[in-house]
Symmetry: C2
């Protein structure tokens, strides 16, 4: 891309297109905290944390750390700038080998076109603090923007850069209602190629509903403190995608408390339980195969038991075919790549929206 | 996954499945050089280089460096081991932010099931030299294996680890004929999630034909020395996917020499020219938009000119819809993610195989 950029600079004079002169000027930065934050689970002292863990001292340390990650958060604004850049800081952690740097600690920009959110550019992380161009050489019409934050790192600062003289304004949250999803690394976004490809982000863009990402990589184990946290969060619906991280025994012991605690606090909200994806490892590794089968049997048992106990508005989504049939839908046998997530989306979206519609949870009202 | 492993160890005693005791033993390693190397473009002194650049002194330095990358190479073998591990070394380069470590410098294992290659596990790079388990706890039947090497790094050593007492044997190359593809980073594998998801690797598994990866990230510019290299490589067919790296002017000046030099050396081999994917940036960045349109117009002009000059057995594949319609098929606006590659595969495979069949180039003979 460096070579391409050099070439573009050289050919700019002869390409015959109307370019505004401000593009080459230094961007003017404004703090993202002045704009609208989307995907926020609960109000926090640090804007880009998901939960203030001081309020939940009994949470396991790994959960506390993961709640500082900015997974699922985005900033929305309107600008007529022809170029958009960003300055942002994350921690010194680096992307794990099954994720891209862009997904783990980078930015992902969408702009609305013909009423739909369309990918426009990424912020590639270079250092713990990076300044990067996200998109440039656009026309100067007003554009609605949605900028996703890093999935697997803490974001400690974010500024949006625009052309000098261009306008930038707050936009209302584009998504309606609140659907909280509690789950594993797969929910948090491993291994989408960029932040906007995590499955709750894709569900939000596809439905207009606000899917809130409470993905806790490796740590969605339904501990009592985690269940109390989930139940304390106000939402119109609750989706539990935490089977991959919980042992069959934990599923047996903990699902009841999680579901009934949510039900107690939110008597009418639908609760949707999703089975674990069938890990691709499990077709070869007999131990993993048995574990996944046992996890999925255990959650189905618990679901039936809770139904029998009279818990209403409880739904179950099977893992069958979530990743497709060709075994190419993961990066590492466990975490979906964008192909696997696309298949998940096509199965989950109609099932989830059909349930939510029964409760008048839609983007229309 | 660490937590999962601990749990599996704890529960192994109660899971009631027949596990062989050798799994827990230290693997026995054999050099991959004793096995069959697949995807080799030409014989080289360093087994895991693609071309000995000393034989082509006029190549640009960037091309020389990229030819040391093991993109497209794989090792095939047969084993009855219940676990497969690997030790391998790459350079000190790290994955760029638009790639996973696994794709850039890791390993990717497929095992044949019911006549088809099926994903089985990855080698996650940790240091420049890594020892890692790829898959374990399998039954002890004979398995045909195909292990892909790093896409974006030099591989200086590779050993395959099996259970003590298990057998490991060379297998013949599973792919027939030779179809050389010369192209950009997209061909080399950016940004597939793992080595086996690069599009030539997927084409080989899907067709049984041997697609050879001469992807040169950012450097497929059809220089005279590169054209001479391409034409010097014996193959049954030649695919040129180098438009993304070449300026419209370079396409105008260089395509003729590249195509006619291949034709001269290989009078009957089909030559297939592919337009550039429409970069997702180009829907917003007017300069990139103009460049891609100019590149694709230039290659179409050159194709027509060469046809008019009487060059036979020359084919053209349009870029239309290569990445689909939802704009979600790239990691960064330029490089396909696995979703984009899947869409490319579904368009390219029937077009390419239909052309090859006219020349009796198929996996059947």
């Amino acid at each position: 891309m460096k070579a391409l950029f050099r070439l573009l600079v050289i050919t700019a004079g002869i390409c015959g297109m109307a370019m505004t002169s401000i593009q080459a000027q230094k961007p003017v930065y404004i703090p993202a905290s002045d704009l609208t934050l989307v995907g926020k689970i609960i109000s926090t002292e640090n804007l880009y944390h998901r939960v203030d863990t001081a309020d939940f001292p009994a949470l396991p340390p790994a959960v506390k750390r993961l709640l500082t990650n900015s997974a699922g958060l985005a900033v929305t604004f309107k600008t007529n700038s022809t170029a958009i850049s960003a300055k942002w800081c994350t921690s010194s952690r680096k992307a794990s080998s099954n994720m891209t740097g862009i997904a783990s600690e980078g930015l992902d920009l969408y702009i609305k076109k013909n009423g739909k959110w369309q990918f426009a550019g990424v912020g590639r992380p270079r250092e713990d603090c990076t300044e990067a161009s996200l998109v440039k050489n656009m026309d100067n019409s007003e554009k609605e923007c949605l900028l996703y934050l890093p999935l697997y790192d803490e974001t400690s600062n974010l500024e949006i850069g625009i052309d000098p003289g261009a306008s930038i304004k707050k936009l209302p949250d584009p998504f309606r209602k609140r659907i909280l999803i509690y789950g594993s690394s797969i929910l948090q976004g491993a291994s989408a190629s960029r932040p906007g490809m995590a499955y709750p982000a894709r569900l939000s863009r596809a439905t207009g509903l606000n899917f809130l990402n409470l993905g806790l990589s490796g740590s969605a184990k339904m501990e009592k403190a985690a269940a109390d946290l989930v139940a304390s969060i106000p939402a119109d619906a609750y989706i539990l995608d935490c089977v991959p991280n919980s042992s069959p025994q934990q599923i047996k012991e903990r699902t009841g408390y999680l579901v009934s605690t949510i039900r107690e606090k939110h008597p009418k909200a639908p609760i949707i339980v999703i089975q674990s994806i069938i890990r691709e490892h499990s077709y070869w590794d007999q131990k993993v195969g048995k574990r996944v089968a046992d996890q999925n049997a255990a959650i189905q048992d618990q679901f039936r038991l809770l139904q029998q106990k009279g818990i209403k508005d409880l739904y179950f989504i099977s893992a069958k075919n979530l990743l497709g049939q060709d075994h190419e839908g993961t990066v590492d046998g466990t975490h979906p790549n964008d192909l696997g997530f696309d298949r998940m989306l096509h199965q989950l979206k109609p099932e989830i929206t059909a349930i939510l519609k029964k409760y008048d949870i839609s983007a229309d009202d």
